[in-house]
Subunit: 206 residues, 2 copies
């Protein structure tokens, strides 16, 4: 029995190349969960095959900027002329339905989210060593040498930010990391500050 | 990979009749854990078949009182003329070895432990309702009506103390409760404050 019926906002972050996406995928493949992705909002044109409200929420620049001014994003950024953001209201709807909303996000984006979502569960995915991260970036084979160097430099600046997170999970083995994140989600629901309201109601405690 | 190599002190508490012992037993029956019981220290005479250091640590009254004065108990109490206590040094030895030390204890004892073990993980086991607890006490059949009334009165005084704990776990189904406690233990190891030291060492972060 779960005393906290509201879903959790779970932020999975960490340096690029650490395997956030793989871990998130393994997490969603596990059984018996109520996880959903956070769907981003963007001003970039909808591509063929993309579905509004599934792949992205597609909006106009005016609409996006109006939402910025209304503080309706947990975080947003502009890439090559287009806005991308995480819409707070859409997430709140899911949380109210008891869904755990998973946000897989870069370290800088997570910093923005932290300001606005005090109640989120912030998980830093760490590589088992710097070398392991470097080898991962090499293995991808998609980046030039300069780009790999830049990513490593960025990672080295991001490593010390782990202390801002609630949890640190080492991605030594994808399955282990996903298991641990699932345990964190289960444990967080049992946290006293999340369950005390329902507990008091259940036992009629003043 | 576990970043925190030290074991956790896990305090399982809650009103009498809530099923602490059953939950703890189910927990120990689960696979792949490193749980150990905390062994109490007592001044009561050793009975036949009891092994010193297994069932209890048997000591003299002088020894016990010396330890009290030295602050070497997480908690202690006197029942029918004999001392019983939870020896801090013995627990520390186990924690240093990476064992999770489980303390199954009454709410009053847990209050004492809280003062001395800031780093412990405090879990309150709650019944799914007051009625469920009452039925459980009745079903035991070991207590007189007066005694059951006394226990319910005590439970009613203890329910509001749940807010002092880190987690509230409802014992609606023993297996569920044990699963959730195991998740709490896994999650606690990933807590940033417990893992940051090893993390920094691993990534050579300043």
């Amino acid at each position: 029995m779960k005393l906290n019926e509201r879903g959790l906002l779970v932020i999975i972050s960490g340096p690029s190349g650490v395997g956030k996406g793989t871990v998130r995928k393994a997490l969603f493949e596990m059984e018996g969960h109520d996880l959903v992705y956070s769907i981003s909002m963007t001003t970039r044109p909808q591509r063929e095959g993309e579905v509004d409200g599934v792949d992205y929420f597609f909006v106009t620049v005016e609409e996006f900027e109006k939402r910025i001014n209304e503080g309706k994003f947990l975080e947003y950024a502009k890439f090559v002329g287009h806005y991308y953001g995480t819409p707070k209201d859409k997430i709140d709807e899911q949380l109210a339905k008891g869904k755990e909303v998973v946000l897989e996000i870069e370290v800088q984006g997570a910093n923005q989210v932290r300001e606005k979502a005090k109640d989120g569960v912030f998980i830093f995915i760490a590589p088992p060593s710097r070398n392991a991260l470097y080898r991962r970036l090499l293995r991808r084979g998609t980046d030039s040498k300069t780009s790999i160097k830049n990513r490593m430099d960025k990672a080295n600046r991001e490593f010390p930010l782990a202390h801002k997170y609630d949890y640190i999970v080492v991605n030594d083995e994808v399955r282990n990391a996903a298991d641990r994140i699932m345990a964190i989600i289960r444990a967080e629901h049992a946290k006293t500050r999340r369950s005390i309201y329902k507990y008091k109601e259940m036992l009629e405690v003043e």
